[in-house]
């Protein structure tokens, strides 16, 4: 296993002193994480969750208050950032405004005192890689936002670092460009197979790019998993809520036989997977149902719900419906083939069993 491990964070905690010395803040709280070689891992969470601090601890811009950081078997916890074999792409790009594109990309190589011809070749290759060949003489302020982003990427890639760090690199781009750059980063990373740690608060970005996502909240890791695991089997209410949209429905276990569990949701019995959790009949549980796991149908045998809002979004229709005392979000992802219901109508609610996931009980009580 050791051979495939690239970066290990072991019980890392970072405590900041508050301004005025009033107290201290645990920005990162006992974070442990093992990243494999070539893996793309995203730290995802709302602002202030500690994801950027974690990245800065990895980069060496901050030092942990406790815990260790190990790169390729070497303890780098207190190694200064310039000695770490990593390169970072910054949110603001952080291009050197007084240098042209070539000099920006060549900067790190010159610090390493590479030969002039080596630098020339490597910088040109890096610029070609990001599609900026021939723009070496431009100043950063003569480039578009997307191009500046590419320079920042080339400047990091040219170092051929063991680990590539990304600090919300796409947040300054407009929506279209963001999607395009996301695709390019994804393709480049897979091609070059560089271990990458990526910070974002955009869950779609995280899903699209990552091998694994680390969801953080209040300095702690809430869940680590593949995008699919995180989306379909969230460990906590926070994760379910932060990733995509979620309906939380209180439910009672009717039957439990090994992996197969039957619960009752709005009078409908739904069969689902327990995912290794032991549940007993009669227990109260919180079920997570994604909006696309609910269907509206003009079927009087189903639980009847009132459509409070219907919003047509082109590729889908979003309904807000009232079921008893609860409001639910329902997304019909293919309005072409199904009936469109108007606001104020009462229709039947169907629940797709595979889309229902039970939250672990300690979380349901602690965070309700």
């Amino acid at each position: 296993m050791a051979a495939t491990e690239s970066l290990v964070l072991n019980d890392v905690t970072k405590i900041f002193q508050q301004r005025g010395g009033a107290g201290v803040v645990k920005a990162v709280d006992r974070v442990s994480l093992t990243i494999r070689k070539g893996e793309f891992v995203t730290l995802l969470g709302p602002s202030g969750c500690g994801k950027t601090t974690t990245l800065r601890l990895i980069a060496g811009f901050e030092m942990p208050s406790s815990g260790r950081i190990v790169l390729d078997g070497t303890d780098i916890t207190y190694q200064p950032p310039n000695k770490r074999d990593m390169a970072m792409v910054f949110q603001s790009y952080a291009l050197f405004p007084h240098m042209n594109v070539f000099d920006n990309v060549a900067y790190g190589l010159r610090i390493r005192k590479l030969s002039r011809s080596d630098i020339q070749t490597r910088v040109e290759n890096a610029l070609a890689l990001v599609g900026l060949s021939g723009l070496g003489n431009r100043k950063p302020n003569q480039l578009s936002g997307g191009q500046q982003q590419r320079v920042a990427l080339a400047r990091a890639l040219v170092m051929e670092p063991q680990v590539l760090l990304f600090d919300e690199p796409l947040s300054n781009l407009d929506a279209k460009l963001r999607v395009q750059m996301r695709g390019e980063i994804h393709a480049l990373q897979r091609r070059l197979n560089i271990t990458s740690v990526y910070v974002t608060h955009d869950q779609v970005e995280a899903m699209a790019l990552s091998d694994r996502i680390v969801v953080m909240n209040a300095g702690r890791i809430e869940q680590i998993g593949t995008p699919d695991e995180i989306y379909r089997r969230p460990n906590t209410r926070f994760v379910a809520d932060f990733i995509g949209r979620a309906n939380f429905i209180d439910t009672t276990v009717v039957q439990a036989q090994g992996e197969r569990v039957t619960v009752e949701l709005f009078g409908t019995r739904v069969e689902l997977q327990s995912n290794g959790r032991s549940v007993k009949p009669g227990e109260r549980q919180t079920a997570v149902v994604r909006p696309e796991g609910l269907k509206l149908r003009a079927d009087p045998t189903l639980e009847q719900v009132l459509i409070e809002q219907a919003m047509y979004l082109g590729s889908e229709i979003e309904y807000i419906v009232r079921a008893g005392d609860q409001r639910l979000v329902v997304v019909d992802s293919d309005p072409r083939t199904s009936q469109i219901f108007p606001e104020g109508e009462t229709v039947g609610l169907d629940i797709i069993g595979e889309a229902v996931h039970l939250l672990p009980p300690e979380e349901t009580s602690a965070r309700a």
């Binding site: 107290g23 645990k26 207190y78 007084h98 950063p140 500046q148």
Partner: protein, 586 residues
């Protein structure tokens, strides 16, 4: 985020793992400690001696000294009021009013930065003194008003206020101009949109937004005015202030204890006002600089507003021109106002005669101090803005003391601290000299070392502030990017930070040179027969009534400063390149 009661951070580790940073920090702290803190400490210690303490009670109870103290405060208030007013007038007209000759007004507002001490005061005496060319020559009177015993001449509070306000208003002008330009025009537009008249907007939007700037300028001018020595010395007449009293105590009575006691009396209001300005007013700034203004500022075009403002500004401009013209004409005249024949003998005296040594010494020492002040200012700015270490705020404050403390006080501190070798006894080796004697007879480098040190100390604050202002606008990620690419602190500072703060560095250098060349109060006690300084020579000439020589010195001094500014621009480069680059990079 969880708030914990205990503190678990060890900031020392960061410094230790970056040895270059640690060494720099030690050097800077040593410099600030030796060149600023030690002299002030020596001065305070002297004032608290037994003899000093008895002088305190005497001075604070005697009427003559109470008058000196109140004179000082009144002068400070008068100069601060008039100077801020002129500064505001110039800034407001420059930014908000449509008038011709704006560029001309702007340049004239900057001219007083290069004003040799005594130059304006002497020119004022030539023009408006009892035998003044204008007062006596044109109006045929010796008094501004009154006559005989009630005669009020240019000497005293009125003349001093005018000269000091004219020499110092640039600070207020630049400060307020910057704020007015940074005011979002959308505010004006919103107020107009809501139905406010121009006058109403001026009263309820513009002025309230500028209150911190006005207060800050007022306090800065107050500190500068009460610290000024040169002008009260020649233009004070019977109007005695603390700075002149301190000067006379040292030069006339060789009583450094009395001088130290008076220095403490002067230090208290100076430091208080400085601290209020620095830590209270400047933080209350409402104006937020958000980068590009969202529209073009509307300008006032109504002739009833424009014309009077234009006339007022032009009047001040003309007075400045008149005073500087007097200096230039006087430099080429035998005795201006008495014998108006053309002569070059004044320049002969300065360039070839007695004054040449002073000219060379002053320029050399200033040229030595300038890069030191610039670099030290930038390094402290870098440390203060970018690095976290214990005592960061204290370092910033201590460095700023170089200007917050009146020059005379600093000078006395040097006299008291460095008049002997500073030695420590090492067991087995005997006394080891840590710092050799810097001042007085037989001082190291004939006192030149102390003078350079004082020049640097007096110039660092301006470089530091412009460095801090620019650095806080530069995204720290740019430096982190350099570190992340393998550069150490020194490489990052040299390749990234310094080029980016080049405009601040350049203005720091220019200010340092101009300040060093024109300073008098801080070095007047430190000159030795071997090391002559132009400003001290000018004082000598003025005191002996040889205005021609003094004016020639002033002209030469102004030319040297202008020439050096040109050289600095060529060497350090134009500021625009780095400015433009920054906009795109961040």
């Amino acid at each position: 985020m969880a708030v914990l009661p205990q503190q678990v951070i060890k900031p020392a580790r960061r410094v230790i793992r970056d040895p270059i940073l640690a060494i720099t920090l030690v050097v800077i702290v040593l410099f600030v400690g030796v060149s600023i803190i030690l002299p002030i400490f020596a001065m305070v210690r002297e004032s608290l001696s037994e003899q000093g303490l008895s002088l305190f009670s005497r001075y604070l109870s005697e009427t003559s000294y109470q008058t000196i103290i109140s004179n000082t405060v009144i002068l400070g208030l008068a100069v601060a009021t008039l100077g801020t007013l002129i500064g505001f007038l110039f800034a407001y007209v420059q930014v908000k009013v449509r008038v011709p000759f704006k560029r001309f007004m702007h340049i004239l507002a900057l001219v007083p930065i290069i004003s040799p001490p005594f130059a304006l005061a002497s020119a004022l005496i030539i023009l408006f003194g009892r035998n003044g060319m204008i007062l006596r020559g044109i109006f045929g009177t010796r008094c501004l008003w009154g006559s005989g015993r009630t005669c009020n001449d240019i000497y005293g509070l009125d003349g001093l206020t005018i000269v000091l306000a004219l020499s110092l208003f640039t600070v207020a002008y630049l400060n307020l101009k910057g704020m007015l330009e940074a005011l979002d025009p959308a505010l004006d537009e919103a107020a107009t949109n809501l139905g406010g008249s121009k006058w109403h907007i001026f009263r309820t939007v513009t002025v309230p937004m500028l209150v911190p700037g006005i207060a800050s300028s007022f306090l800065l001018l107050f500190v500068e005015a009460i610290a000024d020595l040169g002008n009260p010395l020649v233009l004070g007449g019977n109007y005695e202030v603390l700075a002149t009293r301190i000067y006379i105590s040292v030069i006339g009575m060789y009583d450094t204890t009395a001088a130290a006691v008076l220095s403490v009396v002067l230090l208290v209001p100076s430091l208080t006002v400085f601290i209020v300005q620095r830590y209270w007013i400047s933080r209350a700034t409402v104006v937020s600089v958000t980068g590009k203004p969202s529209g073009t500022p509307q300008q006032i075009t109504h002739p009833l507003v424009c014309l009077p403002l234009f006339v007022l500004v032009m009047a001040v401009c003309l007075l400045i021109i008149l005073l500087y013209a007097t200096i230039f004409v006087g430099a080429f005249t035998n005795v201006l106002g008495v014998d108006n024949t053309f002569t070059l003998k004044n320049f002969d005296f300065v360039i070839n005669g007695y004054g040449s040594e002073a000219m060379v010494d002053t320029t050399t020492l200033s040229a030595l101090a300038t890069p030191l002040a610039g670099i030290i200012g930038m390094i402290i700015a870098f440390l203060v803005v970018r690095k976290s270490f214990a005592g960061r705020a204290a370092l910033d404050f201590a460095a700023m003391l170089g200007i917050a403390v009146p020059g005379t006080i600093l000078g006395i501190g040097y006299l008291l601290m460095f008049n002997n070798d500073i030695q420590i006894m090492l067991p087995g080796i005997g006394p080891v000299t840590l710092i050799p004697k810097l001042t007085g007879g037989r001082a190291i480098f004939a006192g030149a070392a102390a003078i350079v040190l004082v020049y640097v100390v007096r110039s660092v604050p301006a470089a530091l502030r412009s460095g801090v202002a620019l650095l806080t606008q530069i995204d720290p990620a740019i430096e982190e990017a350099s570190t992340s690419l393998g550069a150490n602190s020194e490489q990052t500072f040299r390749h990234i930070t310094l080029p980016l703060i080049r405009p601040a560095f350049l203005s720091g250098l220019i200010f340092a040179f101009a300040r060093s060349m024109t300073t008098i109060s801080a070095i007047v006690f430190l000159t030795t027969p071997q090391t002559r300084i132009m400003t001290a020579q000018i004082l000598n000439e003025v005191e002996n009534g040889r205005f021609g020589n003094a004016f020639a010195y002033c002209v030469i001094l102004i030319l040297i400063v202008l020439l050096t500014i040109g050289i600095l621009y060529a060497a350090v480069g134009s500021t625009s390149g780095a400015d433009r680059g920054l906009e795109g990079g961040a």
